[in-house]
Amino acid sequence: MDLTLHVWRQKNSKSDGHMEIVEAKDVSEHSSFLEMLDVVNENLLGQGKEPIAFDHDCREGICGACSLVINGEPHGPEYGTTTCQLHMRSFKSGQHVYIEPWRARALPVLKDLIVDRTSFDRIQQAGGFVSSNTGSPQDANALPIPKPDADKAFDAAVCIGCGACAAACKNASPMLFVAAKVSQLAILPQGKPERERRVLAMVDQMKKEGFGNCTNQYECEAACPKEISVEHIARMNREYFRAAILEEPEKQGHGGD
């Protein structure tokens, strides 16, 4: 199939970007979206033009590196699918395909389609962990966890940290990403001792990074390649209110108010 691509090109974080038209000829419908871009890049190189920069790594939908807003939708038209697992059979010959980076102030463009997602790491660093020293914890089976709880925690834990939730949200809110970790650890007994501190610190960091807040439009759930439910946002909100009432905000990790 032949496609007309409209691609965001931007030299670096300091320069302005623009949309550029690139023709993609003889694309195999069996190739993945990123393989289509590989072929386009080889052709660009042949013409002496710099290839299009985009993040990718595992190409099997689990590392969370790939991104791309394709025809206005983060990760493209297929439900529950990362860009790397999107296949060209989802497109028709002659189609115009618009390819843009994630857009959010807290996810600045570094080059072409690559954005800086270190803000996501900093949110996790603020509290997305159980403080358990490496050593000799009790036997793993000493504490049974009801299967439904373990399964629910797992459903949240599948988040790949790609950023599609923030990219899909009109408020640029990564609430689904933050909630996935808060919820996973709030459900499990291991996460209980730090549950108040964790939710306050993570939400606080989210705000500091310049991300917006959730206004319940559920765009994130529709865009999430791992199909994480907004139910986890509801749980996080509950955790947040509970923590705000119960806890004297700790100075550490809470802005010192």
Partner: protein, 637 residues
């Protein structure tokens, strides 16, 4: 080259405990005076950085990805082995030890493997304490499944994404230390060389992948946890970024490279579909718990799977290996698939595929039960192939997956360069000539959480360190060399893309040094690779700027290293005149086509020393002694 394995004395079961007690410690107040560099943030790197940071060392951790959470450990699907014996089916530390030694075709060190089996139990406890949501049964206790090469259920799992959950556990531990200030994280930063001062590893040279800036970092010890070299084949199940650069550059600074020819070809991957293909996708070995592997009995059978009656199917693994059946170890299952296809009985386009059929299990357990176990894998298969594996059998074919070879390390995981430690897939130590399924996660975490935190302090406590800084001649010189090489890649301005060289190298490696190898093929590869390398340095085309984010430049540096490394791999495969595990020399097989080891001549780890560009590497040997297991011919029949 000094290859003292430093295996502690005493009975096998007591070596590690005794060694832990005898090793020196560093007083908590003194730990912050030691700088430690960790390269890589996968299971081995993240767990090491987190634990050492937690102990109070001053840790810097580097990864080339945009976040430490993206390291390729994340893609491991099936599970992690541990000798917990929760199922009460006869497992023990000794059995896990024995299975691993046997699975590795008696080419691993006994003492290392036994330690691995011992600490496997701590890993599960540690991960559960971090909130890793392993699969559980209705009683709330941890569930297990079985994996190839074992007759017990000792594999812990989290649906089909165990690696993800374990890595996110280690990532969260790392985040806690970053938050506390004990670890400083450098993402999008690629290590390009090791700096050796007075014979000791004292730092690294890195390139900031956003700004292109090349800088030096000093330390008292450098830990490489940079993964394997499977991408030398171009097509593999590795992530696109996986590379040999960190270990290869360390090798060129004097670190011995052990057994590079030991590569694992995983039996269950989605077959290649076209020349645009950029990588191969694994379908977890766990599928072989419930899937049956077969091909038609007739050659060139063009009927669909459904049209072929039961009596005309060859369930070849069950036929050839009745006691392990579909759960034969990976090397054996892969070779059997190749044989079936070579005999003209392969299925799918090009005849390079075999069926993995779930019909019987779906009939027995129901579609829902299968969906619960493997839902995400079936989903992934359908996404890639547009075929529904609940209705028609999967088509699978072997693909490069893991590399058992790596930098040589002693029992303390230190290479022959003092102060340079190597963990996880990057070292050679635990899997011999073939790794069993669900043992890579185990080794990565064992090395990072439970071995290096004991052995590194012992090194510090026994050494005296001269102060070094980035402006010392050794640092300046190494930095200049890296700079020159980077500039050179951009200045060639030839006609061929980096990818085209990589693909050509990959094809040579797969054809001549893949699932089956022979003398003439390897000799041919050893002739072709240097020619390709020469062409690369004259004709590669890399556009863009040096002081900018430049993915072509990153790839060019990695492919340049693969072009050197591939030759060494072929030389190692050529010298090893025997078949063992993943290394199958067609000249050395039994009458029924099984690998034929030669224990009299090759019961050693082959360790290569770099002698300079364009000069042949020198082979050294670490003889393997087996005091606790009897060398036997592997049988899974």
């Amino acid at each position: 080259m000094n290859l003292d394995s430093k295996i502690p004395s005493g009975p096998l079961e007591e070596k590690w405990e005794k060694h832990k007690f005898e090793m020196k410690l560093v007083n908590p107040a003194n730990r912050r005076k030691y700088d430690v560099i960790v390269v890589g943030s996968g299971l081995a790197g993240a767990s090491a950085a987190a634990t050492l940071g937690g102990h109070g060392y001053n840790v810097k951790c580097f990864c080339f990805q945009d976040s430490p959470r993206r390291a390729h450990s994340i893609a491991a699907q099936g599970g992690i082995n541990a000798a917990k014996n929760y199922q009460g089916d006869g497992d023990s530390v000794h059995r896990l030890f024995y299975d691993t030694i046997k699975g590795g075709d008696f080419r691993a060190r006994e003492a290392n493997v036994h330690r691995l089996a011992e600490v496997s139990r701590n890993i599960i406890d540690q991960c559960v304490a971090q909130g890793v949501p392993f699969a559980r049964d209705y009683g709330g206790l941890l569930d297990n499944r079985s994996f190839g090469g074992a007759q017990v259920s000792r594999t812990f799992y989290a649906r089909g994404q165990t690696g993800q959950q374990l890595l996110l556990g280690a990532y969260s531990a790392l985040n806690r230390e970053i938050n506390r200030g004990s670890v400083k994280m450098y993402s999008r930063t690629e290590m390009l060389d090791v700096v050796v001062v007075d014979g000791k590893a004292r730092g690294i040279i890195v390139r900031n992948l956003i700004t292109g800036e090349i800088t030096a970092h000093t330390a008292h010890a450098v830990i490489l946890a940079s993964g394997g070299y499977g991408n030398v084949f171009y097509l593999s199940t590795n992530a696109k970024g996986c590379n040999v650069t960190a270990t290869w550059r360390a090798h060129k600074r004097g670190a011995g490279f052990a057994n590079p020819c030991y590569t694992q070809i995983h039996p269950t991957c989605i077959p290649v579909s076209g020349d645009y293909q950029s990588k191969l996708t694994l379908m977890s070995e766990s599928l072989r718990n419930d899937g049956r592997v077969w091909v038609p009995k007739k050659q060139n059978d063009k009927r669909t799977a459904a049209e072929i009656p039961e009596s005309e199917r060859d369930y070849y693994l069950e036929r050839k290996y009745p006691s392990y059946g579909n759960l034969a170890p990976r090397d054996i299952a892969s070779r059997s698939a190749k044989e079936a296809c070579d005999s003209g009985r392969g299925v799918g386009p090009g005849g390079l595929g075999v069926y993995l059929d779930f019909a019987d299990s779906i009939k027995r357990l129901g579609e829902d039960a299968i969906k619960k176990r493997y839902g995400n894998l079936f989903h992934m298969y359908q996404k890639i192939t547009a075929e529904n594996p609940y209705k028609t059998p999967m088509r699978i074919y072997p693909a490069v997956h893991y590399t058992m070879g790596g930098l040589w390390v002693d029992y303390n995981l230190m290479s022959n360069i003092p102060g340079l430690f190597v963990l996880g897939e990057a070292n050679f130590s635990d899997h011999g000539a073939n790794r069993l399924g669900a043992s890579a996660l185990m080794q990565g975490l064992a090395d990072g959480y439970f071995v290096i935190p004991f052995t590194l302090p012992n090194y510090f406590a026994n050494e005296k360190f001269e102060p070094v800084n980035e402006s010392d001649p050794a640092f300046k010189q190494t930095l200049d060399e890296v700079q020159t090489r980077t500039t050179k890649l951009l200045s060639i301005k030839g006609n061929r893309s980096v990818d085209s060289f990589h693909k050509e190298l990959g094809k040579i490696m797969w054809d001549k040094c893949g699932m089956a190898r022979d003398k003439s093929g390897l000799e041919e590869a050893i002739k072709k690779i240097p020619q390709l390398r020469e062409e690369f340095w004259q004709n590669v085309k890399v556009l863009g700027d040096e002081k900018d984010l430049n993915q072509s430049l990153e790839r060019a540096g990695r492919v340049a290293d693969f072009l050197e490394f591939g030759e060494l791999m072929c030389r190692d495969a050529l010298h090893r005149e025997e078949s063992c595990g993943g290394h199958f020399r067609t000249e050395h097989q039994t009458e029924d086509g099984e690998a034929k080891r030669n224990d009299d001549k090759f019961c050693y780890a082959g360790v290569w020393e770099f002698k300079g560009d364009g000069k042949p590497s020198e082979l050294h040997k670490e003889n393997l002694t087996f005091e606790n297991v009897k060398l036997a011919t592997r049988s899974y029949k």
